[in-house]
Amino acid sequence: MSGRNGTGNTPMFEIDNLHAEIDGKEILKGVDLTVNQGEIHALMGPNGSGKSTLAYVIAGDPRYEVTEGSIRFKGEDILEWPPDERARKGLFLAFQYPTVIPGVSMANFLRMAVTNVRNARAEAAAAEGGSAQSITPREFRRLMREKMALLKMDDSFATRYLNEGFSGGEKKRAEILQMALLEPTMAVLDETDSGLDIDALKVVSEGVNNLSGPEVGMLLITHYQRLLNFIKPDFVHIMTEGRVVESGGPELAHELEAKGYEGLRASLAETSAS
């Protein structure tokens, strides 16, 4: 298993033997994956290997049924938590295909999201004797403008309806904006690089790199090695047919780039045979 967890502390985020199905069809067939604080993990794999399903299951998508295994976040089993509770506890999923919700303005939606997540954090901090402030409307507007500027987003973004009429790149930026505002401790980014031109990719990567730090764990789901030129992962995992079949350092991504999934599979088979 990956993760430099030699200190005896509970890993921050730990997926253990996770099985999940949709409409009676099993997609995840025993996923094991551990992400510690401060680590960036890349999860790669061919289409249909279950990467996006894993992302949805982590976020709590009710369409999927977990039949076996566990997901633990800061030591707590999160599978019984509804999606909103997971978010308030510090989990975030950047969607591959963000949903369009007509009539809901970005600003209004973001304010509600930030208020919910920050208030929960303030309460949790207060419970532990610390102090974290809930956010005022004025602070929120300032924060939103600041983050939008970082992501090179036009001010008019805030007044538009949630993802309605957004280009592919705009949707991805909006996802990163949400992540930047919610400041999760564990972020899953599902194919955030897909559909982005090189400039957009740089901006989005910058947004991700800004968030990453010693407190934050990240799982980047990507089909191509390209994103990893901009965001340096500590660990790379290969997923096929609902399982993580290989884990390693950044060199694994380069090997994959050189050989392709077929080639890598062949060489893996060879290694295990010898």
């Binding site: 976020a59 369409r63 509804p82 999606p83 978010a87 949903t99 009539g103 509600m112 919910n116 919610l182």
Partner: protein
Amino acid sequence: MSTIAEVSDVATTGFSREGVAVISRAHRETGASREARMRAWELFESLPMPQRTDEEWRRTDLRGLKLDRLRPTAGVEAAGVSPLSGLEEAGVENAAAQIALGPNAGVIVQRDAATILATLDAEVAAQGVIFTDLATAYREHADLVERYFMTQAVLPSMGKFQALHAAFWQGGSFLYVPRGVKVEAPFRAFSLISEPGAAVFSHTLVVLEEGAQAFVADAYRSPSQDVQSFASAVVELIVGQDARLRYVQVQDWGRDVWNFMTERAILGQDATLNSLHVTLGAKFSKSSIAAHLRGKNTLAEMLGIYFADGDQFFDHHTWQLHESPFGTSDLEFKGALKGNARSVYSGLIKVDEGAQKTDAYQQNRNLILSRTARADSIPNLEIAANDVRCTHGATVSQVEEEHLFYLQTRGLPRSEAQNLIVEGFFRPIIDRVPVEEIQHFLETAIARKVGI
């Protein structure tokens, strides 16, 4: 006003010839107006109750309505009660009441059809504007009122309930804006029911002369009571040549009320009507709303928001009647339903033979928030001209799980996510009413309904 003697004979009258006489006396009517009431009463008696074989009533069940237990003369009894008493228990703190009592050019408040407050801005009055309760208007401006009152827009012969209204009307308001006079601030009329079992007949008569502009807001409100009450409103909007009228109606009756509303607008050449109907209250609510695009080059924007919960039944019928060339009508009615609520929307775009270059749009969308709520939507076109553009559409849909999930992944509890989605559903209509106060009211009302 009423005397002790009159009050004593009220209790036995109900809907009857004697009941009509009591109301006519209380209004100190003579001659023509009294005769008009009696003719309307005879008409009411001669007309059959609407049957479910009638297209307009096919989906509407009137069996629960007990006309014989209602007291149409409650307003006569209530007259003389000290002004403003009873406002509070009727919900003046309520948001609907704020619609009626916010900044204004004039206000009329009626309880059980008896006027308890009537104001008109002095500067507005000085320009020749008349805004008063209808009975007073009938006495003081008889020529004007008689020319328009149930003679052009809504006729007593239109149906059983319109005839009943013509016989028993009591409250209501009259707004007259002379030629070229433009008034920004809204004229507000607030009708409330406080007597259990009252039958209340409010009437809105608006006459805008050539080039005049006005904004009229009607609000209907009552606390929910155990005894069935009855509200019959008639709204007549005469929008003269090149005149502009914004009309907003908020129906927030208590859950004991059976509400029947008939509205007809008549637009002269180059006239503009922007209407908004908000239906929130009553147990049963039937609204019949029509715009006659009578002159050339008219514009009628007709918006509607309804939100039913519990066992409420809402029925909206609309007509966009294109009678002249170059008319534009743009109708958008949106409804949300929860609990066991039911709604019917039926709309007709009718284009007469001569109404070439008509541009008509009609849209009805419904959002179902529970398994047991139901919405029916029946759009219709009837086009006799050949150079027109008419579009219509209707949908009934549910909140998408995918939307709820997405919002939840951003930390919003499911209930808040649903609230946001429902508000988003209504948002395009809210944005089309460029009056901040109304927008705020709608946001609050929708949030309240979602939370019920």
